[in-house]
Subunit: 369 residues, 2 copies
């Protein structure tokens, strides 16, 4: 069939408020494709869609000159428009019940051909959540898996940023137009993503980030991905919607364990109780989804342990820091029964060798590698 025709129809349908993918896809699939749908008589289609107006809107799609002009105008700004009838349209997304009729794409659309995993979580993630997202993002991207997320503050931003460098890279799915700066403080991150990664949205340029957009957007995040990892989520987090959608689509849902005292881990623990796969790191995701990819690159025990050239005191301090978060020099002196001066000298030594990192309030942590 003429795929140009189907594409023109999809662009037209995408502009209609009433012709939602949720409404049209069941009929489109029942008919067996666009060609058959467009060959349906208006009366028959009206009864199937239970609306004369909708049936007319469907049938006149391919001749919608205004939609074609609108699309050409957008594409002149550098945004690509992908419809389910284009080769570049992501295959996994096409398999869900209601794939969007248009994806606005800014950046490298080749990213859509890579294996993809979503990393999602709380906007108000704790440092722990951001650290986990960072390590997962870096390690998945490092082995060629694209990290999909929602461009929000917290977990999303950490995952995108960490994935930037690796071969897998990252895809951000927005709940507003690609030209709308939301959240405002992510303008620089957005520029990086547009330059070498990929930004996607179902919404046209100028569309505001309305709260009701985000659950709808979440189906794209889940739909693009072979699996969804929930890093941190409070009890009513949107990440839980993404996880449920992923499960509905038959994709694997992973959840990262955390402190039982942390409100931001409540949602992830709920998921684990409900059968989500425990995610301790990229290795758990890869083992499940892409067993042939192998383990992520992480420093071996030998590399990650301080070399023998470190002083014995520094080695002891490092062992304690690996076990316990955010200790001050006084804490360490007390715990190890060492003079404060020795502790401070050892911390200086560890920091210089890249094994300890200072934290706010004069505390220290083991470098997480």
């Amino acid at each position: 069939m003429n795929s140009g025709l189907a594409r023109r129809a999809a662009l037209s349908w995408a502009r209609s408020r009433a012709l939602t993918p949720q409404r049209l896809w069941p009929v489109l699939r029942a008919r067996g494709g666009v060609e058959a749908l467009l060959a349906t008589g208006e009366d028959e289609l009206s009864s199937e869609l239970r609306s004369k107006d909708l049936a007319r809107a469907v049938l006149r799609g391919p001749e919608d000159a205004e939609a074609a002009r609108w699309a050409a105008g957008i594409e002149r700004t550098g945004i690509r428009l992908l419809t389910p009838f284009d080769d570049e349209y992501p295959r996994l997304l096409g398999e869900i019940a209601d794939p969007p009729f248009v994806l606005h794409a800014l950046g490298n659309v080749e990213r859509l051909r890579l294996p993809a995993v979503a990393i999602v979580g709380s906007r108000d993630a704790s440092r722990y959540g951001r650290d986990v997202a960072t390590r997962l993002g870096r390690e998945l991207s490092g082995v060629g898996v694209t990290v999909v997320s929602g461009f929000a503050r917290g977990v999303d931003a950490a995952a995108h940023e960490a994935a930037l460098e690796g071969p897998g890279g990252t895809i951000a799915v927005l709940g507003c137009g690609l030209d709308v700066d939301y959240p405002r403080e992510h303008a620089r991150l957005k520029a990086s993503l547009a330059a070498s990664q990929l930004l996607l949205s179902e919404y046209p340029p100028g569309a505001e980030p309305r709260p009701q957009n985000f659950p709808i957007r979440n189906r794209i995040i889940a739909g693009l991905s072979s699996g969804v990892v929930v890093v941190e989520a409070s009890r009513r987090s949107g990440s839980l919607i993404t996880a449920r959608l992923a499960a509905d689509f038959g994709r694997d849902v992973f959840a990262v364990p955390g402190s039982v005292f942390s409100p931001t881990s409540v949602g992830a623990h709920e998921l684990l109780r409900d059968g989500a796969i425990l995610c301790r790191g990229a290795e758990d995701v890869l083992a499940e989804l892409f067993p042939s990819v192998g383990a992520p690159r992480r420093p071996s025990a030998a590399e990650s342990l301080p070399s023998l050239e470190l002083s014995p005191e520094a080695r002891r301090i490092f062992d304690v820091l690996r076990r316990e978060e955010g200790l001050s020099a006084e804490d360490l002196a007390r715990a190890l029964d060492l003079p404060a001066a020795t502790v401070l000298a050892s911390l200086f030594e560890l920091e210089g060798a890249g094994f300890a990192v200072p934290a706010p309030g004069g505390r220290y942590g083991a470098a997480r590698r």
Copy 2:
């Protein structure tokens, strides 16, 4: 049958190095009980035990006057000796493959009639592990469940101490004689347990805490308990042995999630991957094991939230502290964009109202209730 006879036999068998419960119970069970066992001919028993000496030792058990004198001597010191043929012997322990022929008991043996759950974990637990053990111990004991543990440093000690006050109380199972002070720094804890709780050991007074005792001791911890909760465990922790034994005995195994960066949570996460039940708190244990007991007593949301009499700043600070661990006043001032003086005043306010607790290094945490 004469239960005094069976008891005398068990006391004799318990004193023999060669007649281990592992060796004797299969024959005892195959025979159908002590009476039948003692009525077996020496030759027949020799072939079943594959040893003439063992068979003789079994058969002369009831007449072992030395064992009877030894037992009387121990009981004069206040230690009770419980054999599987005594009414006080814990029923669940009697159901495992190799219950000990004698339990030395110091304290209140009535504790053995209460529902019991083991809380076990690392000797070198982090503060997180000790905090979890404390809350679990307090909440389980609070609803009448006895907390069983191994009297070690770290998780065990935290669980015992927290359970002391509640109606469930606590049982410590030692890997040495009840009169041996191990670990040395637990002498006071031991005195408390002996006074109102219960100390148990398979080993006679004077027995040293040899490393090989502990895995054998762990079967008693698992055997006494309807379920075992592993709070924190490194990869090769003895707690994992207790968990495996519990699973072998058909008891439920629970594991507490923690930071994926924490080496002391590696073992608990392994267990979760292998099908252990996620334990976020006592409610998860009770729901599984004692659904009729109901939820643990914990302050309601209304009680645990600062009252409206607190200043708005204090409320904001409390919200941050509940999310993130160990922040200093400077961290809080930065995060909330508040003057340092306001933060300090609010922390003082929160501490006074019992909503914040100071931590080492000038940091603060939300009070865990």
